[in-house]
Amino acid sequence: MAQQENKIPLSKKNKREMSPFIGHELLYDFLTDSLDPERRAAVADHVKFSRDAQLDLSKIENGQKYAERLADTRVSEPIIEQINAPSSYLTVLMQKSNFDKWPQGLKWGLEALVVVGVIVTLLSVTPWQKVMQLGSLGGSKDMVLAEISKTETTAVVEEQPEFVDEGAKETPAEVTAKSPDKASVKPDVKASPATPTPTPTTVAAKTPEKAAEVPAVTGGGGFLYRGEIEATNIETIGPKVTDKIIELGGRKAGSVELGWKKTPTSMYYHFTIPEAKYQDLMNSLAAYGKPKFSKEKHPRVMPDGIIRLIFTLDETKK
């Protein structure tokens, strides 16, 4: 002991004594042979006389053996591959945002929001029209009822070109009743070109009055000038009237062309014209016959300065 104290004088009294506590704490170092010879001998002495130290040493040995057996654990290849696999964007995002640490309520709220978003997106993206059509191909009776409603909607849509037929509305009965007669009359007209027709000058004098007589209709919406004119030899006159309308800036309205031959003895004109040219048109028409025009209320409103007219040029009745 004296020799050892001389070699390693660590204490103030040149002694290197070891308490039982230190002896206990150095047991692992003793077991792993990490102590210097002096310390090793001191711990060995301690172990020799201390039952607790012997028990502790035994525990450490057991622990070490057990840990070494645990060290034989191996990790299977699939797990290694999983670990080696690059992290997905979602995983990285979750890690960065510390999603696991978020309050539970917030997590559920977010998840619910995502689910709602997905449902809304699906509902808005789904082509329901096609789905319904596919469903109707199935042949159930309910779907047939849906088709009936479709036909109703088309009927409603057809109301729109109402004004096209406005002129035709007034005459069908008349036309059907008279058309055979007029057909028979027509050759006579051609045969007698000397049929008295009012001269442009005389009619021109009268038409302004007639035009002035057009009753002013008041009320909401727009207006429509509806009229008729009887003339002889409409086959010849018709194109001239059409040319005149175009010359005055008139434009076809509705679906048929200007001067459409509604019946063999009647030509149909549906057009728009600058309001300023209305009088000129009346003067021109007066050259062929006596125009009878009236101004009617109509739901369709025309742009300022433009008027809409519908009239028929009929063969003079004999």
């Binding site: 704490e25 525990k59 450490i60 057991n62 622990g63 060290a71 654990t73 290694i80 999983q82 670990i83």
Partner: protein
């Protein structure tokens, strides 16, 4: 210095398996630690793999330790962690539950992953003496667990 090998990946995986005792979380944590490890190696190619492993696993453990309820293992036999036959994990579960964080991690690094004490101390930035001290206490505790289990198995009360 060499790049991270499969053996290093094994070490990282085992560290988290034994520290977390949770199959799935061990894989997640290992994946993160491996990324961290590679990052360290890229920044400092001179660093030893074992030192990088210690530093990275400690860093990821600090994140995961709050998420794991120690003493409630979540492992299955079929999950791909090949435990040696006839080895009872009971003492380790008990140790993982009761040991301090320092003791638990030091035993894993030193005795299971077989990392040298000087590398552990370099990775953690503490002295080798501290590592040895922790190991002594940890092994004593682990040893007492194994004795306790063996006594219970042999029908003794351990008195």
């Amino acid at each position: 210095m060499t790049a991270m090998t499969e053996s290093d990946v094994q070490s990282i995986a085992l560290f988290f398996y034994f520290s977390l005792l949770d199959d799935q979380k061990a894989i997640e944590a290992s994946s993160q630690a491996l990324v961290l490890c590679r990052g360290r190696k890229n920044r400092n190619p001179e660093i030893k793999n074992s030192v990088a492993i210690v530093a990275a696993t400690k860093s990821v453990w600090d994140k995961y330790k709050v998420r794991v309820s120690r003493g409630r293992p979540n492992t299955t036999v079929e999950s791909g962690w090949l435990i040696p036959e006839s080895l009872d994990l009971g003492p380790w579960r008990e140790f993982q539950k009761t040991a301090s964080e320092d003791e638990l991690l030091t035993v894993i690094w030193s005795k299971i992953l077989k990392i040298h004490d000087d590398d552990i101390s370099a990775g953690l930035g503490i002295t080798e003496g501290t590592i040895r001290y922790r190991l002594g206490r940890a092994l004593r505790k682990l040893g007492s667990m194994t004795q306790g289990v063996s006594k219970v198995k042999n029908g003794s009360t351990g008195k």
